[in-house]
Amino acid sequence: MASIDIQGVGKSYGTVPVLHNVDLSIQDGEFVVLVGPSGCGKSTLLRMVAGLEGITRGDILIGGKVVNELAPKDRDIAMVFQSYALYPHMTVRDNMSYSLKLRGTPSERMSHVISAAASKLGLESFLDRKPRTLSGGQRQRVAMGRSIVRKPKAFLFDEPLSNLDARLREQMRVEIKKLHRELGTTSIYVTHDQVEAMTLADRIVAMNGGAVQQVGTPLDLYERPTNLFVASFIGSPAINILDGILRCDGENRHIILESEEQLPALARIQGRDGQAVKVGIRPEDVQVSIQNAGSRMGQVELVEPMGLGTILHIGTVHRTLKAFVLERADYPIGSNIAYSLPADRLHIFDARTGQRIAD
């Protein structure tokens, strides 16, 4: 086990930059998730840690030692690929023992380790099968097994669950989390799925366009997104974003929305008077009432029942807002509904830079 430090790392393919100045410090035993839309450079960063891609600028340290020039085999890390990359001509047992054989592990010890890993992952009865005879979920387990048989300094995962169906994905997610609790190995996990990121991570690194946007615990990112990108990327159903102008009148703050409506905001919002802003509010923070009339009224346009709760699309003259409610009340389409946007639940961003306005 080891810490991993990424210091001022950049990557270009030819003249095309794909990673800009990434700084990240991962502690020993930490589970860090890199999350971001497809093409933002997550895999590239992970592969640079693994030694599969060259480093254009900066340093990568594993266990305090610079590994920039070290071959993958000398970095002592394990990786689970999105494609699983199982050796098709080898049995499950040989797939799992390949790395041990290369290290000259004595055969009794090897078979002991393999059977321990196999029983942990429920693979005992498949050990003599070839990968092509296994289902997707089983192959995924073999790929995991291949990583855990030796005690590497770190686990790297590149979207390991994205080829599985939703049910299996949920199940494997839990197993990965348990495995990490048990082994405590430093892990970097790449995904584009923000639910996976939220549920697995000790810390999330949100990336976009080759740059780190925010690093923090899942709840940090959820409750205090540092910019518009993070606010809209994290959370499902997605956050509502409204355009407006910030008005500062002494201690009073309010926002004039495009629709001329006034939206009170908290006094601690920094911003300037007249600053163009974007206001975010998460669907579950939108308060609705169908019985009582209120100052803000809209119509129920669409109802998406999710079992756990319901997503309501509330149409007003100017826009559609999403609200997430837990009550199982009946919301007939077209009926009037009162809603409010509590000042303490607003996320306010500068409209031009997209950065959060200090509060």
């Binding site: 693994a50 030694g51 599969l52 071959a71 993958p72 085999k73 970095r75 890390i77 394990a78 990786m79 690929f81 494609s83 699983y84 990359a85 199982l86 050796y87 098709p88 001509h89 390949y98 790395s99 290369l102 290290r103 070839k130 990968p131 092509r132 005879t133 296994l134 997707g136 192959r139 291949r146 080829n163």
Partner: protein, 279 residues
């Protein structure tokens, strides 16, 4: 449209055309066989009968027992076998490099390799002879192996490259992370999966070298280093052509090529990478 939906006339035509094609393609081989077992006295008298009224293996016995043919045959085996192995070794390495690495001048290298395939070989006979004779490579099997290897490496490289391209990069990356060097990953993971490609390349180069006539004729003037295509010509004398013996030798020459393909066909048809990724 499903097959059951198609009518009988359709299938009649379908198989009819296939049968015609196969017959057309195999007819020369059939004729080879037919002439080789036709006794000389019947060859001209019976004209173009599909099967002679009397058959004999006399031509075969003569070719095997009283001609230089066994020697030519052995020479051909040595030349074709060595060429096939050498070319495949080189092409496996260079094809892998072409498939996996980006390096300066790659485009130039590919271009040059294509250019070598554009020349009519006849143009090169004289310069190569000039080059080889001081080196003692004329009248030698080694000389032929060198020439054949040089001419077959470019195409074989492209062939191997296309096979390597079909194998996911993830596999060797996984091996390298598991602790293998790149060469070990190539040898233990990638090469076993490319066996169909290796077999195809071996087969292709073997047959090309087996039937090569131009250089075999020009670089070798002594019988002890002649290959069998040159040997076949020895059945043509100034005044007559001994068709029966020539065809018998031809049939015999087909045997190694057939055996060779029988040996490698298992790899040719097998899709080893199935189940490597996703699925």
């Amino acid at each position: 449209m499903t097959s059951s939906a198609r009518s009988t006339p359709y299938w009649f035509l379908h198989y009819g055309l296939l049968a015609f094609y196969v017959a057309f393609a195999l007819f020369p081989l059939y004729w080879l066989l037919k002439v080789s077992i036709t006794p000389n006295d019947l060859l001209y008298s019976e004209g173009i009968r599909l099967w002679p009224s009397r058959s004999s293996l006399a031509h075969y016995t003569f070719v095997l027992a009283h001609s230089d043919f066994p020697l030519f045959f052995k020479n051909s085996l040595i030349v074709s076998g060595s060429t096939a192995v050498t070319v495949t070794l080189i092409a496996a390495l260079s094809g892998y490099a072409m498939s996996r690495f980006d390096f300066r001048g790659k485009m130039w290298l590919v271009g040059l390799m294509l250019i070598t395939q554009m020349f009519p070989l006849v143009m090169l006979v004289a310069p190569i002879f000039k080059l080889f004779s001081p080196l003692g490579l004329t009248n030698s099997l080694t000389g032929l192996v060198v020439v054949y290897t040089a001419f077959n490496v470019p195409f074989a490289t492209f062939l191997m490259q296309s096979f390597f391209d079909g194998i996911p990069k993830d596999l060797e990356e996984a091996a390298m992370i598991d602790g293998a060097s790149r060469f070990r990953a190539f040898r233990q993971i990638i090469l076993p999966l490319t066996l169909p490609g290796v077999a195809a390349t071996l087969g292709f180069v073997f047959t090309a070298a087996w039937s090569e006539l131009l250089f075999a004729l020009m670089l070798v003037s002594k019988a002890d280093a002649s290959t069998f295509p040159v040997g076949l010509l020895s059945f043509v004398s100034k005044f007559s052509v001994d068709f029966g013996q020539m065809m018998a030798a031809g049939v015999l020459a087909l045997i190694p090529a057939c055996l060779f393909f029988l040996l490698i066909q298992r790899y040719l048809v097998q899709g080893l990478t199935a189940g490597a990724v996703k699925g």
